[in-house]
Symmetry: C2
Subunit: 249 residues, 2 copies
DNA sequence: CACGGTTTTCCATATTGTGGAACGGAGCGG
DNA sequence: CCGCTCCGTTCCACAATATGGAAAACCGTG
């Protein structure tokens, strides 16, 4: 069904993820199709505005159109704009990196992020997607996710560090604990040496729609400090929840 | 050429821009195609992960995949991450809304924006695209754009308010002035009652790659205040330019 | 339960995408 | 300066593929 649509979208993906512009042969090679096919796909993408030929011509790069469309999608999740100033405040008060994530199946996706200018650039970027079971915001989201999503997450439980949780029942008790406390903490479960604190944000209907989190190096985020910061993160998430019209807890 | 690719992409656009999920008939109606055709496009989009059926099923919505791809694209323009803290500082010091834009043909696109929490939510959102000739950052970008882009912009010069500049030679002298001063100012040329100040950001090769701008209501951004703020905006743009590796001016 | 609104499936038709081969240019080395 | 090679681009006959009509499954409602 609709073979050429699939090919075209794949071409777009490869183009968007490629660092440098790609030529016809390069694209054909990566996709395993003929040159003439790749060329036709590219001209179609150019005609629709999703790709642009580079100068001097011979190569093609993805345009901003794709991104503009995507921006519309996240704009609908207006959690982002409402949470933004609170993310910034959290960073100002703690000097740690803050981020905002939503659930995408059994994964978490960063939709916003504010970094401290004092810290080394992190390897995570907005739009990156990681397994929910080993990240702070991921766990906070999973703790309030529907049964079905949890089942998907169980299937994705691979270890990323020695500390990654892999036992399904252990995960269940952990999620219960997160629900009880109102926040989640992790210790080097996704990236070695990186700890985190996260709390869920509820939307107008009281359901969890996003999570706000703080993460930083273990030397700075020691257990004692985590203990003092957790209420701050939880309070911030709660404040955003209220702004979204969530009922009192 | 590649008709179904075009249709599929159009379907994606409509889906992404629609506020609510769409059904088969609604999509077919907006696209002017048959229901069965729309249905096949949708199942193909679902198969490739760009759309998701809603529950209860019968409708379709765009997924986050599109946005994640787009995020990769802008991440490559690392102006955004480097400028972010400076945008924030500008907002903190002036209590006005700051934004960061790049040129997309004869249009400007907001790639980042920091709003002051004291002000009414603006109607512009990240990803929005507006004509360059009547916005602050647009003019700042246009003043340093290649001949070809300028020509395209001339073709797009439609008035948006009584104050919008529409005469090609007037635009030329204005751009020359902007180049001389190092910053651009506008007075209600795009939105009535909204003034702005903007300055260009240069990349590693000395070429202008983005612009930073401040905008706010005319009551607050009076000529006298604009005069004092302009050097601040220009200095901020200059600072970011240096961080990007731009040579001294 | 029957109705009007869906979404979904099926299928013959020809439109449309396909890949091979041939063309035109750019860059390189002899 | 020529001939080589590697690239993007064009062309075309063929067949795979998208197409739309009609009909079937579906769902909520009166």
């Amino acid at each position: 069904m609709d073979k050429s649509l699939g090919k075209g979208l794949l071409a777009l993906e490869i183009l968007a993820e490629s660092e440098a512009p790609l030529g016809v042969t390069a694209l054909a090679g990566r996709m395993g199709i003929t040159k003439s096919n790749a060329h036709r796909l590219l001209t179609a993408l150019v005609a629709t505005g999703y790709a642009e030929p580079t100068q001097p011509r011979g190569s093609y790069a993805s345009s901003l159109k794709l991104w503009r469309l995507g921006a519309r999608i996240v704009a609908r999740l207006d959690v982002k704009s409402i949470a933004a100033p609170h993310l910034a405040r959290l960073v100002a008060e703690t000097q740690e990196t803050a981020n905002l994530s939503v659930l995408d199946g059994p994964f978490m996706v960063y939709i916003d992020r504010v970094e401290t200018d004092t810290y080394i650039r992190s390897y995570n970027r907005i739009g990156d997607r990681h397994p929910a079971h080993c990240t702070g915001t991921g766990l906070a989201l999973l703790a309030h996710a529907p049964e079905e999503t949890l089942a998907q997450a169980l299937a994705e439980m691979k270890p990323h560090t020695p500390a990654t949780i892999t036992d399904p029942t252990a995960l269940a008790t952990r999620l219960a604990q997160i629900r009880r406390l109102g926040f989640a903490t992790t210790r080097a479960e996704f990236r070695p040496g990186i700890n985190s604190i996260a709390a869920p944000i509820r939307g107008a209907h009281g359901r969890v729609v996003a999570a706000i989190g703080l993460s930083g190096p273990a030397e700075r985020l020691k257990p004692a400090r985590v203990k003092t910061l957790a209420p701050l993160v939880a309070a911030t998430a709660e404040k955003v929840s209220r702004l979204l019209g969530a009922p009192a807890p």
